[in-house]
């Protein structure tokens, strides 16, 4: 059996449709690969071979009946933030370590209906708070390019599993960079769609006005196929946008001639390491060769994105995570006195240090007396940042720059300094505040042979165009085809 997985999702789907291999064969082979690699990578929190193989058998029947869709039988793994009925769903927290989801997230329903095979639940930073996937209660994820380094976060398991060839694609979520930064650090492609395109129903909430689900895969075409499945209106999410369905593949072959690529001066100032700068600048040279015209643009207030985010996201988190009280589901402290004591001990035990820090920051900025100075000021700054992007998009069609200021850093490098960890998302946070689509694609290798990511930020609802730019770039380059040494014997 030739292995289509390293070639990606569309290649895998094609091999299944052509009956070159069955979904059961493929699923079985990947489960073996996961069993072999996961003790090292720790990309998966939960695998359930029986369920996966049962779904694969059903998909094979569907293919035999001639009733298959583009993703029938294709193995996909899901960030453990998505509720999947009957699956343990932990959000990488002790709080939910034994929680079995009683219903499906909208995203999971879409994959199940398409006949995709659920390969398991992927590790991540606890409650999606972090940039290294080290804050997981289930231990850190390791980067397949160098297992002494982090894969990025919070969707580190998703990016690591795709990079290691354990699955052709994975779901992920992005509140301040959690799809793009791990995609960059693991050398894979990831897209955070416009806020509201993918339903948040059944996706465990971190910061609801910023959280958005999206795909991580090997190339732009795969992302487009996944977007066709994941996007769409869902009444169960009050912020889900009702828009006509679109084909995200429609611009994959489009030329870049005349495309205006905005280069924000702020993104190219000091702060980026030299190897990342070299990768990003060579990528811009490729785009220019393909007919794009670089334009210098200004995002004068973008440096305020980090402070605004660390008010808004913790504020929303402190509210969202108040539901974890040891009463209706999840962890409850073993010993306690009265009700207030039960709440406090349960939450002290159930949440890890980073989650506790963000809840406390959130509780503080929402306090009477500080609310205006912190929370409302952050929301006003948020609007200024969104206005900066609006002005920039009057002069360009897409913005390009680095995804992460550095390549993957060593495990434990920022263990004693939360602020240093936060700086890893310095380029990715602003699009979340504005609600804009943004993606990361591989654009080279930096120090120690570690991947570098190019970030593209588009105007609202321009995902198809962005995917077209990424596809043109990937026809011209082969960074996205590189894979780390296999974990299999």
């Amino acid at each position: 059996m030739s292995d289509p997985v390293p070639l990606g999702l569309v290649a895998t789907a094609r091999a299944l449709a052509a009956r070159e291999l069955s979904s059961v064969e493929l699923t079985g082979a990947l489960l073996e690969r996961i069993a072999c690699a996961n003790p090292v990578l720790n990309a998966f929190i939960t695998v359930d071979p029986e369920v996966s193989l049962r779904q694969a058998a059903a998909a094979d029947e569907r293919i035999a009946r001639g009733d298959a869709g583009p993703l029938t039988g294709v193995p996909v793994a899901h960030k453990d933030i998505f509720m999947a009925r009957g699956w343990r769903t932990t959000c990488a927290s002790r709080m939910l370590a034994g929680f079995v989801a009683p219903y499906d997230a909208h995203v999971i329903e879409q994959f199940d209906a398409a006949g995709a095979v659920n390969m398991g639940k992927l590790n991540m930073d606890e409650f999606a708070m972090g940039s290294s996937s080290e804050s997981s209660f289930f231990g850190p994820v390791r980067n397949p390019w160098d297992i002494t380094r982090v894969p990025g976060g919070s969707s580190g398991g998703s990016a690591a599993a795709v990079a290691a060839g354990l699955v052709p694609a994975a779901t992920a979520t992005d509140t301040g960079g959690s799809i793009r930064q791990p995609a960059a650090l693991c050398g894979v492609s990831g897209l955070k769609p416009t806020y509201g395109l993918v339903s948040r129903y059944g996706m465990i909430a971190y910061a609801s006005s910023l959280d958005q689900a999206g795909p991580i895969a090997r190339n732009a075409e795969d992302l487009a196929v996944l977007m066709n499945l994941m996007a769409g209106h869902d009444r169960r999410d009050a912020t889900s946008l009702a828009r006509p369905a679109e084909d995200y593949r429609r611009d994959l072959q489009r030329t870049l001639k005349g495309l205006r690529v905005g280069l924000p001066r702020a993104y190219f100032a000091d702060g980026m390491s030299p190897d990342v700068r070299a990768g990003v600048e060579s990528a811009i040279a490729v785009l220019r060769r393909l007919g794009a015209e670089p334009v210098e643009v200004e995002l004068p207030r973008v440096e305020l994105a980090l402070p605004a985010y660390y008010v808004i996201a913790p504020a929303e988190a402190s509210s969202n995570l108040s539901r974890f009280d040891g009463v209706r589901y999840g962890h409850r402290a073993a010993s306690y006195g009265d009700l207030a004591d039960m709440y406090s001990r349960t939450r002290a035990e159930g949440f890890g240090p980073e989650v506790r820090r963000r809840i406390l920051i959130g509780a503080f900025v929402l306090c009477h007396g500080y609310y205006d100075a912190y929370y409302l000021q952050a929301q006003r700054v948020r609007r200024l940042i969104a206005e900066d992007f609006a002005s920039a998009f009057e002069q360009c069609d897409v913005i390009a720059g680095p995804t992460s200021p550095t390549v993957a850093f060593a495990l434990g490098a920022h263990a004693d300094d939360p602020l240093q960890m936060y700086l890893s998302d310095i380029y990715t946070i602003a699009p979340n505040l504005a609600g804009l689509p943004a993606m990361s694609i591989p654009c080279g290798f930096g120090v120690h042979g570690l991947p570098v990511g190019l970030q593209l930020v588009g105007n609202y609802f321009t995902e198809a165009r962005m995917l077209g730019i990424a596809a043109a770039f990937q026809r011209e380059t082969e960074w996205h085809l590189r894979a780390p040494a296999a974990m299999t014997p």
């Binding site: 009683p102 009050a238 305020l304 402070p307 999840g330 406090s344 939450r347 006003r380 948020r382």
Partner: protein, 95 residues
């Protein structure tokens, strides 16, 4: 704005997170360094700027007044820490 130990304890109380004295000391440093970073946005002139709560100005969508959820109490309570007769058990709050 720098938090003193009492302020840290007060916030932890509001957030219903138990903290020990040694945790208060560590948190005081960590939270103050985060708040110091946040301080950078305090000087920005935002007079007249309307706070932005969401990417899109949306009104709360309304649905028809119909029953859409079925009774799944037993399944939902299966994961609860303590349940009796279909009710969630908590420490007594009224003597």
């Amino acid at each position: 704005m720098a938090l003193d130990p009492d302020a840290v304890r007060r916030i932890a109380l509001l957030a219903r997170i138990a903290v020990t004295d040694s945790e208060v000391a560590a948190l005081q440093g960590e939270l103050n360094s985060i708040l110091g970073m946040i301080e950078r946005m305090q000087g920005v002139n935002t007079a007249g700027i309307v706070p932005m709560a969401h990417a899109f100005e949306m009104h709360t969508p309304l649905r028809d007044d119909q029953v859409t959820e079925t009774d799944q109490r037993a399944e939902f309570q299966a994961g609860a820490p303590a349940v009796q007769d279909g009710l969630y058990l908590v420490p007594r709050v009224i003597e």
